[in-house]
């Protein structure tokens, strides 16, 4: 019921604006770069459950331990038996432990982006002085760094152990450096794929399943086809099929350029020419992941 009120206050001197003491902010404004750095460090901490509940620390820490324990055992064996070489190459370690890495990406990529979508906090981020590119790069860099920590830590354990076991310094340092380059590429690749898949769904559960499906099924499909192509004696096909799953892509790059033994069936990795294609595809995938994420966050919300 709209009742016509008479004009509350007659015009004149009686109307005035009260000063109730609001003050404008005159402290330092930290700006865009600071916001981007904060988002990066918070996402990186979040990827290991730091600053979150105890329950959400369990899984990433458990996976981290599972990654490092085999390295520690290998070092112990190498020291005890006075071996001349580590039982496993630096570059091979991540390939062998790929199930753990996949599980880590699958559990932490949705944690990083899906919750922002589900609780509709993305618009709040963009009400700060950050742009789409800042959000995407901060999240991408944070997950890639977290993965690098996960994959490089066991290599460090191996390296320190190898030096303690008095293995050849130059040889070990070269292997360690090659391993670091390889896991850096792997981290960027896996983080990109994980984030692209996870940013599509606000449901954490579906995100996890979708990421693991992309990583596992592509590897399963590629290794099945490779095994069959190897039986058919078409080793050329083995190499080209390897382009279609992330882990075989990394395997191909490192066996072409980083002196690694290939894990492909038949043991013949790509040569230099094919290796260039591998590198290009890997870099293209990373760029594509970044581009897709930028497109995904052009429009905020779902």
């Amino acid at each position: 019921m709209a009742v016509e009120h008479p004009a509350a206050a007659p015009p004149g001197d009686q109307s005035r604006i009260h000063n109730i003491g609001y003050r404008s902010y005159d402290g330092p404004r930290l700006g865009r770069a600071y916001a981007r750095r904060s988002l990066y460090s918070q996402s990186l901490r979040g990827a290991y459950g730091l600053g979150r509940s105890a329950k959400s620390k369990v899984l990433p820490m458990l996976l981290f331990v599972v990654m490092c324990v085999p390295a520690a055992i290998m070092v112990a064996v190498a020291v005890a038996t006075k071996a001349n070489d580590l039982p496993l190459d630096y570059t091979r370690y991540a390939i062998v432990m790929q199930a753990v890495i996949s599980l880590y990406v699958a559990s932490q990529a949705p944690q990083s982006v899906s919750r922002d979508l589900r609780f509709k906090t993305v618009p709040l981020y963009f009400s700060r002085p950050i742009e789409t590119a800042d959000y995407v790069r901060a999240k991408y860099a944070a997950l890639a760094s977290a993965l690098f920590v996960l994959t490089a830590a066991p290599l460090l354990v191996l390296y320190v152990g190898a030096l303690l076991a008095k293995l050849d310094f130059a040889d070990q340092t070269e292997g360690f450096a090659q391993g670091l380059v390889s896991v850096a590429l792997l981290s960027l690749l896996f983080a990109g794929i994980g984030l692209v898949v996870a940013s599509v769904t606000p449901r954490r559960g579906f995100g996890i399943a979708a990421v693991i499906a992309v990583l596992t099924i592509s590897y399963g499909a590629v290794s099945t086809l490779q095994a069959i192509a190897d039986v058919q004696d078409s080793s050329g096909a083995v190499v080209w099929i390897g382009l279609f799953s992330p882990i075989t892509l990394v395997d191909g790059v490192q066996s072409a350029f980083l002196g690694a033994a290939s894990a492909f069936p038949g043991g013949t990795g790509p040569g230099t020419g094919e290796g260039v294609v591998y590198v290009l595809v890997a870099l293209g995938l990373i760029a594509a992941a970044h581009g897709l994420l930028m497109r995904r966050y052009k429009k905020v919300g779902l």
């Binding site: 954490r204 996890i208 499906a213 499909a221």
Partner: protein, 239 residues
Amino acid sequence: MYDPTVARLTYRALLGRRRALILGALPLLLLVISVAVRALAGADDQTTADVLGGLALATMVPIIGVIAGTGAIGPEIDDGSVVYLLSKPVKRPTIIFTKLIVAIAVTMVFSAVPTLIAGLVLNGNGQQIAVAYTVAALVASIAYAAVFLLLGTVSRHAVVFGLVYALVWEALFGSLVPGARTLSVQQWSLAVAHKVSDGQLVTSDVGLPTATVLLAAVTVLATWYAGQRLRSLTLAGEE
């Protein structure tokens, strides 16, 4: 014991929007691969058994089971909307049973049917391999759906634990520690498949009687305990 409304809601939660695409992508990939393998290698019984056993039964069925089983109840508990369902005069075991039926149906449709088609494409059901692996996928669907539905009511990280079971326990430990194979849904379903197929291409480490008993026991126990869990469900706050 079966509530059509709950079933309809669960179907919508599982297949609505883009989720059917995730579920549909895996079987599609299996079909593409089997066509490629047939073109590359021709019809070969051993290859067929490798593809169906390694890719379809060992990877695809568990992943679809995880998505369907935990997806039937997990998201609802996660976002708290399950209270609206629980406050209706429907028995909690009925809710679980209905969701189980839906999860089993979805898993079967998206895993057993493509397995059959892939088997037919690969070698035209020579030595009954296609049918054997389809039966295995059907049997495994029931057990996986029940186990992962239980996980969905027990833990907020049901998907991760489900995947750890399917990928780490069955694939990794199963290939390293022979004893772990006795406790694997995959091997139990292979035991049933072994009975169906004629040849020696489909083998299992578990005898048929043991496998049948274990399959039935796991399914029934998981469903019963999931019902109990739902009866005393406490809604967790946001972590």
